[in-house]
């Protein structure tokens, strides 16, 4: 049984993905879902997880009913006590780790309460183009991103301003970010389809001035001056997650 309330949501996801010319060979498979619309967050899941989730849901429905019966006994202020989003301007987009979609068999999960959705496997880049004896060179790294992001269902790359490690010789800090920027430009990748997690160096380096300046430095190395307006407009719906 597919919840009717969920259908427009799913179509939006599918449209957003298949509409991308640079990635139109990516097949976004939206798996059929069970459950009532009130369980929307949990109702997009893999077939394997469904059995146990259906059971859990039944259990939680039973417990939920009990909780309602006895709720008068508890402090009613408790309702939002553990919800960190109940005050302030920030509104959570949903639950962390909820499966939002499946791309080429790889699950994509919400990252915290944000609108960012990441594949459950991401590319680690610490040693890309580093001075290690067996470090993958630029050509190999382009191959990793082609394989994982363009041909498979991966959308996450994790890097840092201090990568590659180890640096030295021909390898210098910032090269990992530059490499990713170069690849996105070369492959004309729609940036809305790739999540890049990067890092500001820690400890006493972290202060308001550096957070501003170093972020600009990372953005520059990642090459955000490249933009494909046409793709962006087609993908704008995806930000509603």
């Amino acid at each position: 049984m597919i919840s009717l309330a969920l259908l427009p949501f799913l179509l939006t996801v599918a449209d957003a993905f298949t509409g991308s010319p640079s990635l139109n060979f990516l097949k976004t498979s939206i798996i059929p879902c069970h459950g009532a619309s009130t369980l929307l967050r949990e109702s997009v899941g893999s077939t394997d997880e469904q059995q146990s989730k259906v059971c859990n849901r039944r259990r939680s429905l039973v417990l939920g009913a009990g909780g309602g019966m006895f709720s008068g006994f508890f402090n009613s202020e408790n309702a939002n006590a553990s919800n960190p989003d109940s005050a302030g301007k920030f509104k959570s987009k949903g639950s962390t780790n909820e499966i939002v979609k499946v791309v080429n068999g790889i699950k994509h999960r919400r990252l915290g309460g944000s609108g960012v959705v990441v594949s459950e496997i991401g590319l680690g880049t610490q040693r890309w183009v580093s001075s290690d004896f067996n470090a993958p060179d630029e050509n190999a790294c382009f191959g990793f991103m082609d394989e994982a992001i363009l041909k498979s269902g991966v959308n996450l790359i994790d890097t840092a301003e201090s990568y590659p490690i180890p640096s030295g010789g021909g390898a210098k800090e910032g090269d990992s970010e530059r490499l990713i920027g170069k690849w996105m430009k070369d492959r004309k990748v729609n940036r809305e389809n790739v999540v890049i997690a990067t890092k500001i160096t820690g400890g006493r380096n972290i202060n308001p001035k550096n957070i501003r300046a170093n972020c600009d430095g990372s953005l520059k190395r990642l090459g955000t001056d490249y933009i494909d307006g046409k793709l962006l407009s087609q993908e704008s719906t995806i930000t509603t997650f």
């Binding site: 880049t125 997690a197 972020c215 704008s236």
Partner: protein
């Protein structure tokens, strides 16, 4: 659908960037790097941390990150190598200020390093509490969980067989055989870690899969994890990883149980050492001050 944004806006939102603090702004026991789990007040009293009014406040971090969010430069921000205190301090400060809370925390995590599930991070990160995602790194423990150092130990663990150790150094199979990483990544090669790896290798073999596959698929099934970050040296390794992550079947309950049984023998193998000496500034090889 809305019209395409103007170029200025388009510039700023063109990248889905998650901006993380590589390690905390403050002193905190760098347990993720195999150093002490113990908070050391004397270290925190050091001028490195106390000068210039001490580390940047959580308030200033939250406000600075909010500036980046409002400018459209980042979609979210997060923490790395931090703990339940840093995580909760950030989310609660953001709540108080009405700013965007961190969406992620990243840490060392693998079948031989389950501490984040058991030290309050998982509880803090839960959707029922601070609702923060978790990114696991070193899920293959610096290559140890590929099993390639199982028969012939890494060069530095093979001193009883000097000839073989020299051969490993000269023809390294991976990072563990090199001088730099070999000592930095010692934590994955403690006796306790290596004993656990042997046991996990047996479980993998009994179930017709490689230790790498067992280790990565185990990660995928942990409720704490939003994503597992994996580094590769060549594209054939990457293809294997992708194959494991595309598998529909979870590891069976029996396999998960067998793994738990091994885990219970030593829940912190990375932080155990049989090679502690007074020789390294009173620290053991693991880099941890002797309590």
């Amino acid at each position: 659908m809305d019209c395409p944004p103007t170029h200025n806006v388009a510039f700023s939102i063109s990248t889905l960037l998650v901006y993380q603090l590589h390690w905390p702004q403050r002193y905190s026991p760098q347990a993720n790097w195999g150093q002490s789990l113990k908070y050391n007040l004397e270290t925190d009293e050091d001028q490195y941390w106390r000068s210039l009014g001490g580390p940047t406040s959580f308030e200033n971090i939250c406000l600075s990150m909010e500036e980046l969010v409002q400018a459209g430069k980042v979609r979210g921000w997060g923490l790395c190598n931090d703990n339940a205190y840093g995580l909760t301090a950030c989310t609660r400060t953001a709540k108080m200020l009405g700013t965007t809370p961190p969406c992620s925390i990243q840490g060392d995590f693998s079948i031989i390093d389950r501490k984040s599930e058991e030290n309050g991070v998982a509880e803090a990160a839960s959707k029922y509490n601070e609702n923060v995602g978790f990114m696991a790194y070193n899920a293959l423990a610096g290559g140890m969980l590929t099993g390639k150092y199982m028969e012939v130990p890494a060069a530095f663990d093979d001193l009883a067989n000097k000839e073989r150790a020299m051969k490993s150094l000269n023809e390294p199979r991976g990072r563990m055989d090199t001088r730099g990483w070999g000592s930095t990544l010692y934590r994955y090669r403690t006796d306790a870690a290596q004993q656990a790896i042997v046991e996990y290798g047996k479980i993998a073999k009994a179930n017709g899969m490689s230790l790498t596959e067992l280790s990565l698929r185990w990660c995928r099934q942990r409720t704490l994890l939003t994503t597992t970050l994996v580094g590769h040296s060549n594209v054939s390794q990457l293809k294997d990883t992708l194959k494991y992550f595309a598998k529909k079947e979870p590891l069976s309950e029996q396999i998960m149980w067998d793994i738990d049984v091994v885990h219970m023998r030593n829940r912190l193998p990375l932080f155990s050492s049989n090679r502690v000496g007074r020789d390294w500034l009173g620290e053991g090889e693991i880099g941890e001050s002797i309590p």
